[in-house]
Symmetry: C2
Subunit: 87 residues, 2 copies
């Protein structure tokens, strides 16, 4: 199976928690360069690794990883505000 390119928000989420790649890597139990590869979207994680990341951030997989390029979080917020406000 030719794997599609996947997008993710690891960098932003990690920055919001103020931890380094090295720290995140230790928490999820991978080499710190592996986090680098993931953040640069040079390869896709296994489902198990995706789960570990999702568990650490306390977020569903779909909010972190996507088959479509991910909008900045701030844009997502604005869209949600519009949706609610426009009812």
């Amino acid at each position: 199976m030719k794997s599609r390119k996947l997008y993710n928000r690891i960098t932003v989420l990690r920055k919001e928690r103020n931890i380094s790649r090295k720290e995140l890597a230790e928490i999820i139990g991978v080499n710190f360069q592996t986090v680098g590869y993931l953040e640069r979207e040079e390869y896709n994680p296994s489902l198990d690794l995706a789960f570990k990341i999702s568990e650490y951030f306390g977020l569903p997989v779909e909010l972190i990883f996507s088959t479509e390029p991910l909008k900045p979080l701030i844009e997502e917020i604005i869209e949600l505000k519009n949706k609610i406000g426009g009812q």
Copy 2:
């Protein structure tokens, strides 16, 4: 990284849709034996493959795959009914 064993509900979901492994395999674009390996939980999918399966069934990844053994769907329903009824 030593990968944890993951559990999934592919077999049940597939049966509910009345399709064979071969058909599912064609839809998600993998070899039909690969579906077999996944259903027998002999190995974990990549995140991309998990996404393809989740897209086909129209369900979030977390409802199909889990790090914990998955209860039969019927039990989930009963638990949800109890939760709602007991308010």
